[in-house]
């Protein structure tokens, strides 16, 4: 999946006639919609949803600011660059996604 996302992202960046602001936002197939959010530090957040969903950018941004930064980054015992092991992170993430309006 990483290869596919990387290719789409580079493609979008090259295709953009003006300076890219947000870049690659989402794509959809006949079965699902994939939302993408990338931070300047190279973190990539991917959310797959049903086709009926609009923009999930705010949700992904909230996920980054509150859940990832709040629980992952600020926890000094949580090593960066490795899969997150924290149970609290998992449960908060789960609760957040379940509570999304779509």
């Amino acid at each position: 999946m990483f290869g596919m996302l990387f290719s789409i992202r580079s493609f979008v960046a090259k295709m953009s006639p003006v300076d890219m602001r947000d870049g690659f936002l989402c794509f959809q197939t006949s079965k699902y919609k994939l939302h993408y959010y990338e931070t300047p530090t190279g973190l990539r957040f991917v959310l797959t949803t049903d086709l009926g969903v609009g923009s999930a950018r705010d949700a992904l941004q909230h996920l980054y600011s509150n859940i990832y930064v709040g629980l992952g980054v600020k926890n000094p015992l949580c090593p960066l660059g490795e899969p997150v092991q924290s149970e609290l992170f998992r449960s908060r993430l789960d609760a957040f996604v379940r509570a999304l309006p779509f």
């Binding site: 931070t39 190279g42 973190l43 990539r44 930064v69 980054v73 000094p76």
Partner: protein, 167 residues
């Protein structure tokens, strides 16, 4: 959290490092290393809270560090000037520095100590996480008898994009 507690904690940290290491260079090095560890995480908090747009030049980044980041974390706004023709060396002059609120001068025998070297590490670590290699040092320091406290940031090069961070 109380500002005094933060400033006193920092002072205690430096004092402990001075007890642990005889040479000023070692204390400076460890302060920088600690700052680096803070910086690589602080950048995420900064990006999440400030929601800044992408910067397109070193000068924009230097302005962002001085006017947004320093303001957000230390409540001060250093002034920024570009100090070379190439446009990759910047100087941040700190009029106030809350970290040295309770420090009048460096202790005897510690004339090379960069008391706030943690800040250099923080900036260096934060920039590295957005793929920019930089050298950050204190050019002038009021504690050492200079007129102002000045931090120099030299942007060296853009780093390669890191390999996948899967989520």
């Amino acid at each position: 959290m109380s500002r005094e507690l933060f400033v006193l904690t920092y002072g205690a940290l430096v004092a402990q490092l001075c007890k642990d290491y005889e040479k000023d260079e070692d204390v400076n090095k460890y302060l920088d290393r600690m700052g680096y560890g803070i910086g690589i995480r602080l950048i995420e908090d900064f990006l999440a809270r400030s929601a800044v747009r992408k910067c397109h030049s070193y000068s924009e980044i230097a302005d962002m560090i001085a006017q947004v980041a320093f303001k957000m974390y230390l409540g001060i706004t250093p002034s920024v000037t570009c100090i070379n023709k190439r446009g990759n060396k910047f100087s941040l002059i700190l009029n106030k520095n809350p970290l040295v609120d309770f420090v009048e001068e460096l202790p005897a025998g510690r004339s090379s100590l960069c008391y706030c070297n943690l800040l250099c590490g923080v900036i260096r670590g934060a920039l590295e996480m957005i793929n920019l290699a930089a050298e950050v040092t204190f050019i002038q320091d009021r504690l050492k008898g200079d007129d102002v406290t000045e931090i120099g940031i030299t942007f060296l090069r853009k780093l390669e994009d890191k390999k996948c961070k899967k989520k």
